[in-house]
Symmetry: C2
Subunit: 213 residues, 2 copies
DNA sequence: TAGATTGTTAATCGATTAACAATC
DNA sequence: TAGATTGTTAATCGATTAACAATC
């Protein structure tokens, strides 16, 4: 399996997957890239290329088999073999993430959380234990957890990040609004809500002012 | 003010802003694009172009004034004149979003929430009232709220989306893992956590297998 | 067969990077 | 002045789109 996908194509795959689940639930067993493209507002050649990148081949006239596409996209996205993660910061956002049941089916399984607040330590949220922050280095390195989720205030995020890196983490999912400094081999995936918010307000401003894209 | 910024440049601005706040707190009054680029792992020409896109001019040798950059980026991102929003779906995620205090300083002010659950209706979360879903059309159209935040399960997201659009919303911030169908004039900003998760697992898989980018 | 749809090759577009002159 | 740093112009790179032949 040495199929390569561009980063941008990769980001569209989850969207296709949702769409395909929806179509499947409506009873479709095949789907054409043309229809997909139209309904998803994406260029049809792009859709065909993206689908081809998953290793699926379609048939002229009938299109692609829905089940096969779903299987291949799941495979591509790594949803079927999930990696373990720890979450740091059991505040409002952290608790929401812990309670959100969908991560595991998306390739990431949160196995424990850490916090400095004595009140939440040793409690459980959605069956995940919250440990005192001091125990992070020992637990993470012993269990070889590959993913760290940062849901702490901006001011302490870099500090937590360093601790995770020292403990041997390989990828970080960062919800704190800061640019984290990490060694090159470590992936930081920023959940960039600030950028989303900015895009929203810009859209509104443009509309108000009658600007053009 | 008719400065145009590419979408990709726009997405980097919040990062620069965080970085600049950090530098300012350390006592820096000027900063060079060269240093910024190095510390943020971005190409320095790109940084200079991005900063130029905010209308800020630097001086050879000394660089840019931190305060001026901060002012201009905030202006560009629309953080200083926030738009009102309503949130639909006061579940775990919805409540976390309601409790998260940072949106207002990022240009979006959530003024109310809606839910179908009788138990949460008429309660307050972080001083925001939760109304029964039935009242959405009337309230949103009467108050001319421009932004709708969707934090409901995937199955009902399109339905909620349609209601928001009918009520005259202009932009949607979508946390549900579905591709929403909207008229062309409406912006949908997807908070694409599934894509982030996929990127994380792909990074891990590649590292394990010794693949190259 | 005729027509819809795939998949590929070439053209375009936009964003990033390289090279370099201008300037404090 | 010398050197760091800006800002601009040209080159490169990657992703998207257009054109079209292949095929069910």
């Amino acid at each position: 399996m040495s199929i390569t996908v561009s980063k941008s194509a990769f980001r569209r795959l989850p969207g296709y997957l949702n769409y395909l689940y929806h179509k499947k639930s409506q009873g479709f067993s095949t789907i054409s890239a043309t229809v997909m493209a139209e309904e998803m507002n994406i260029n049809s050649v792009l859709v065909r290329k993206d689908l081809a990148s998953t290793g699926t081949v379609g048939r002229p006239k009938s299109g692609f088999k829905v089940d096969e596409l779903i299987r291949n996209i799941i495979e591509m996205l790594g949803y079927n073999n999930s990696s373990e993660a720890v979450l740091v910061g059991a505040g409002q956002l952290g608790r929401a993430l812990l309670s959100y049941g969908e991560f595991e089916s998306h390739g990431v399984k949160i196995i424990a959380a850490f916090d400095t607040d004595q009140e939440v330590c040793h409690t459980e949220i959605n069956e995940k234990k919250v440990f005192p922050l001091e125990q992070l280095p020992r637990l993470v390195s012993r269990l070889r957890v590959p993913i760290g989720v940062i849901a702490v205030p901006a001011g302490v995020a870099q500090d937590i990040c360093d601790k995770l890196v020292d403990a041997g983490i390989q990828a970080i999912w960062n919800f704190a609004p800061v640019h984290l400094q990490v060694p090159e081999t470590i992936l930081v995936q920023n959940e960039n809500m600030a950028a989303s918010l900015a895009a929203l307000s810009q859209h509104l401003k443009r509309n108000q002012m009658g600007w053009r894209a």
